[in-house]
Symmetry: C2
Subunit: 332 residues, 2 copies
């Protein structure tokens, strides 16, 4: 198997590549596990940690650049994990950039897949940002996506093109609508949801964090470990399990900012929790308020996708790996 | 007002241009009627009937060609009626052609609008082909579009981009999901729905017609006169009436092929009705069976869009205009 990971130097991309290396195999169209012989880690940045693994090939370039796509697909590709994206805040601030990467980039990948000898599996990181406007209290598999951000529109357009290309046999696509992923290590990014990791990560590192939304703001969350497991699971499910829709709401968990601060207090103590400062940012608050926070993800659970136990477990796992000194003992 | 009509040489485009000429005005953003000074009739074909009206400027070219777009927008545009499309059957047969015209062409128009001094009104002819897959018996305004054809995907993508560009203030968009339009005069085209006009038009002209679907196949229909009235109405509704969704199911009427043949018999007599021959075409039947035929178009009716009285009235109107010799007297 030759696997392409776009956004391969990103937070999820690097974790996914590590998981692929450890796992060692992926199922082919006949459901037989096949050894992974090469992982092409494509990214606009050149920071992929290959882990000194000869199977990992770093490739730097722009998704919308035909030469980059040609280099990525040289010798064919069996599976694509398409994680690269201009994130929500950035796509809102720069319409052309978002369209070029999120729409044209996805289309360029699909076009390249179509020219492969056999249709590659194509796992796409979509987003709950496809939902917006007037929403029911609980979003179900039947709720119509009506995105109210450019990012959401571009992700939904990607889902539609992947669906059509799957129907036509150009790819075997699977689009997962990712919840907000917490806790991301490292630095804040331009995603409107960046604060959701920041209000856990920064306090556990002894740094103050600004929360730009009210404490009753609710989010639909998933941990990095769970989303990686679900991305791999999406690849392994047979094509006929998807029916006429190749897009899926992943099973996250609902937590308010208050729940998150409570979990932070349980794991990192009062000193950590007190480092969260509330300072409203209307632009962020407006974007986030449009995202649904409660789902009935029945179809995903039926297809074997998994969810995190609770927000405290997510915070504790993060602290264990990234901020062991910050843990108070963890009697939540 | 300077108005651009894409597909201006097409069946609906020519009728719309005639209606614009007769109407003489369109409302501006302040709801004030303004005289139409120029109508740019853009089409890949060069067949627009200008009616010797100096206001109509014919422009031949490809929507995805930047030079064509530049010529169309020279001196600015106040309103766009975007009717041009590669139709369903052709977009299914030639994926690249459909993507180029239906997706890239729409995007090129939106980009050009964005560069206008003020955001143009943008009325888009979408289609009920955005619906597909498992559908309820009656499609409502809340039903999720899940297109199962490339044409449907491309139309839905157009709706999404128009919605986003409206939200961003690049255009003031309105996307109407058109029912199947009957009766089209002239020749069959590559649309999967072409037969729906053919089984009325051909028999009234004394010619046999092949019906490629069963007589219990149901369609969601609208007459040419009604759709033109609704396209103009869509332009005239104020922006704030649309809420967060710029797309709308138009109020058609439901008729089975049997209903259509009954109407044909009422208008053109038994000789006409007997000219319809049933000869199943699996490809057409499959596409058409995926289209919904029953809608609750509450939102459209509330916004003042109109529907036809019944299928017999549609057939009689067509016969009156295009086949007066074929009418038997019309006591249905």
């Amino acid at each position: 198997m030759k696997v392409l990971v776009t956004g391969g130097a990103g937070f999820l991309g690097q974790r996914l590549i590590r998981a692929l290396r450890e796992h060692g195999t992926l199922r082919d169209a006949q459901r037989a596990p096949q050894p992974i012989r090469q992982i092409v880690a494509l990214d606009a940045a050149d920071a992929t940690d290959t882990g000194d693994d000869a199977r990992v090939r770093r490739l730097r370039g722009d998704l919308a650049d035909p030469a980059t796509i040609a280099a990525a697909f040289e010798g064919g590709i069996d599976s694509v994990f398409h994680l690269a994206a201009v994130v929500s805040g950035a796509a809102e601030a720069d319409f052309d950039l978002g369209m070029r990467v999120n729409l044209d980039g996805t289309r360029a990948l699909l076009d390249a897949c179509r020219r492969c000898a056999a249709p590659p599996r194509f796992v796409f990181a979509s987003s709950v940002a496809v939902f917006g406007g007037a929403l029911p209290d609980v979003v179900t598999d039947a709720t119509t996506p009506a995105p109210q951000t450019s990012y959401g529109v571009q992700k939904l357009t990607g889902e539609l093109l992947i669906g059509d290309c799957s129907r036509r046999g150009y790819v075997d696509g699977r689009a997962l609508r990712l919840p907000t992923i917490v806790v991301r290590p490292g630095k804040p990014n331009a995603a409107a949801s960046s604060f959701a990791s920041g209000i856990i990560r920064e306090p556990l590192a002894g740094v103050d964090a600004i929360c730009p939304v009210a404490d009753d703001a609710a989010l639909w969350l998933m941990s990095p470990a769970t989303v990686i497991r679900n991305l791999l699971h999406a690849h392994e499910i047979p094509a006929d399990a998807w029916g006429t829709s190749r897009a899926l709401n992943l099973p996250g968990l609902t937590a308010t900012v208050r729940d998150m601060v409570t979990a932070l207090r349980a794991v990192g103590g009062a000193a950590a929790a007190d480092r969260v400062r509330f300072q409203r940012d209307e632009r962020i608050a407006h974007i986030v308020s449009g995202w649904p926070a409660r789902f009935d993800a029945a179809r995903a659970l039926q297809l074997g996708f998994t969810r995190d136990a609770d927000i405290t477990a997510i915070v504790r796992d993060y602290a264990r790996q990234h901020a062991p000194q910050a843990q108070t003992g963890g009697n939540a």
